[in-house]
């Protein structure tokens, strides 16, 4: 017999009221508005867009406000909203070589066409707390200089010309959209890249770090890292005309990794790829390293049994909404499940008492 139990409705409603009040905080302090979040907490907004897998700054800022700054909760809200949107279609593949760059660096070549451009970076700051930000609204203004508006070619295309690096050529394999179809292992690289791009930054950082420490043989250089706006091209179904339907900020990382070669092909560098919404370079670099370590089969490398090589392990666990959903559900009532366990342990103990031993 199953007896359902109801209750807690009042407790839940009152808990939500308190949540609402505590989210507002001290009412003598001005309330945050969405534009303040999207303008001043840009990198939080970027992370929520990337892992929420939906590029919309205002929605992302709203989710951050609603979740009291809990970014995984905010990502959850965006994912839930995303599922309500009708899909109008799919864009043409973006051309990151035409990116309007805010930042573009290479750790492998000093002198590159288009030069090294640092952009608004935390690199080279001393990581000392800036107490000026406590006090006043003063800030430094960006400097400007005359420029040439030329396309900035990818750094790795120069290595390509010499045949020193493995080429990325379309395989012609079709890939499924992992948000629309259940995934079946083994995956195509495209399916892995889609998962990684919406994966959890912390998880990918940890895995990428593990490859650097030796859990997978793939010493990586940052061949190129760039952040900027890319035009998204989309064909209007009614007209058959392709238009620039959106301008989206991306960070792209191309890693250069150690050699691969065979009797047919002389030794050449291999590569990993990271592409994410927003200015999230830690995540883009992590993605490139983890992409590379999962390509061991393609390059005929040894499987070392480490986490970062195991696509089933990586892809099944990199989604923080799936992970937190399963993890957090165990705090919800499991009274009946637990009752069964309790009965079992009591029974085992009784038998032990009776027989004086484990049965």
């Amino acid at each position: 017999m199953y007896v359902s139990v109801k209750g807690g409705e009042k407790a839940i409603n009152n808990a939500h009221s308190w949540l609402s009040e505590i989210r507002r905080g001290d009412v003598n302090i001005a309330e945050l508005n969405i534009k303040q979040i999207s303008e001043q907490l840009t990198l939080s907004v970027d992370r929520v867009m990337s892992e929420g897998s939906l590029y919309d700054k205002d929605l992302s800022a709203l989710a951050i406000k609603q979740s009291r700054g809990d970014l995984i909760e905010a990502i959850f809200l965006i994912r839930a909203y995303r599922t309500t949107l009708p899909r109008i279609g799919s864009s043409k593949p973006i051309e990151t070589s035409k990116m309007l760059c805010l930042r573009r660096i290479s750790a492998t070549f000093k002198d590159i066409p288009g030069k090294q451009k640092l952009g608004p970076t935390f690199d080279y700051t001393h990581r000392l707390l800036d107490f000026k930000l406590l006090a006043d609204g003063e800030y430094d203004k960006a400097k400007i200089e005359k420029y040439d508006d030329k396309e900035i070619p990818h750094v790795l295309s120069f290595l390509n010309k010499e045949g020193l690096i493995q080429k990325e050529i379309p395989s012609g394999k079709t890939s499924k959209d992992i948000t629309r179809n259940p995934i079946n292992f083994p995956l195509t690289r495209s399916e892995r890249l889609q998962s990684l791009s919406r994966g959890d930054e912390g998880f990918l950082l940890g895995l990428a770090y593990s490859t650097q420490r030796g859990y997978a043989r793939n010493h990586a250089f940052v061949g190129e890292l760039r952040t900027g706006y890319v035009e998204v091209q989309f064909e209007i179904p009614e007209l058959g005309i392709e238009i620039n339907i959106a301008d989206v900020m991306f960070t792209e990382c191309e890693s250069v990794n150690q050699f691969n070669g065979s009797k047919k092909i002389p030794a050449q560098f291999t590569r990993g790829y990271g592409l994410v919404f927003g200015q999230l370079e830690r995540k883009a670099i992590s993605m490139a390293l983890v992409d590379r370590s999962m390509r061991w089969k393609e390059f005929g490398e040894e499987y070392l049994g480490v986490a970062a090589q195991d696509e089933e392990f990586v892809i099944s666990h990199c989604d923080n909404i799936q992970a937190t959903g399963f993890l957090e559900h165990i705090k919800l009532p499991h009274y009946v499940d637990f009752q069964a366990e309790l009965d079992l342990v009591r029974k085992i103990r009784e038998e032990y008492k009776k027989n004086g031993q484990r049965t």
């Binding site: 864009s91 890939s175 301008d247 590569r271």
Partner: protein, 147 residues
């Protein structure tokens, strides 16, 4: 300033700053009669990237898009596909698209599209000139031991 191709004007309308486009339109104060072919609808477009920038396509994530279509005088259709979730922006884009196919096109071009082009160019110039100021100039130091 704007090459009068539909591809171009639709692109500038789609990616326009919504507050700016709305203010330009409202200032014109045009009274337009139209029927809906499709009322404004919020949806998404899946953005595709290429593995290693040149290889296989893959899905990166979606971007919010609003679209609608209007009919002017039951003969001229205008389509408003715009970035974001602003239905009014989408309606303005559809009306501008339709009006660009009529004798009112000079008004729309001068008061809206040329200004959107200028706005976008200014933004682009601002980014390029700030990025340029962070360009690294390497120099090498001559050291003694080579003598």
């Amino acid at each position: 300033m704007l090459n009068e191709s539909r591809k171009q004007w639709l692109s500038y309308l789609a990616t326009a700053d919504e507050d700016y486009l709305i203010s330009l339109w409202d200032n014109l104060n045009m009274k337009i009669e139209y029927n809906w072919l499709r009322e404004p609808e919020i949806g998404s477009v899946m953005v595709q990237g290429k593995a290693g920038a040149t290889g296989d396509n893959f899905n990166v994530g979606e971007v919010t898009i609003t679209r609608c279509s209007v009919n002017l005088n039951k003969k001229i259709q205008g389509h408003g596909y715009v970035q974001g979730r602003n239905k009014y922006k989408s309606k303005i884009a559809a009306l501008c698209d339709a009006l660009m196919q009529t004798e009112k096109k000079e008004i729309i071009k001068k008061n809206i599209l040329d200004k959107l082009v200028k706005y976008k160019n200014n933004k682009r110039n601002e980014i390029l000139s700030k990025t340029e100021a962070t360009k690294v100039d390497f120099f090498t130091l001559v050291r003694g031991e080579d003598k």
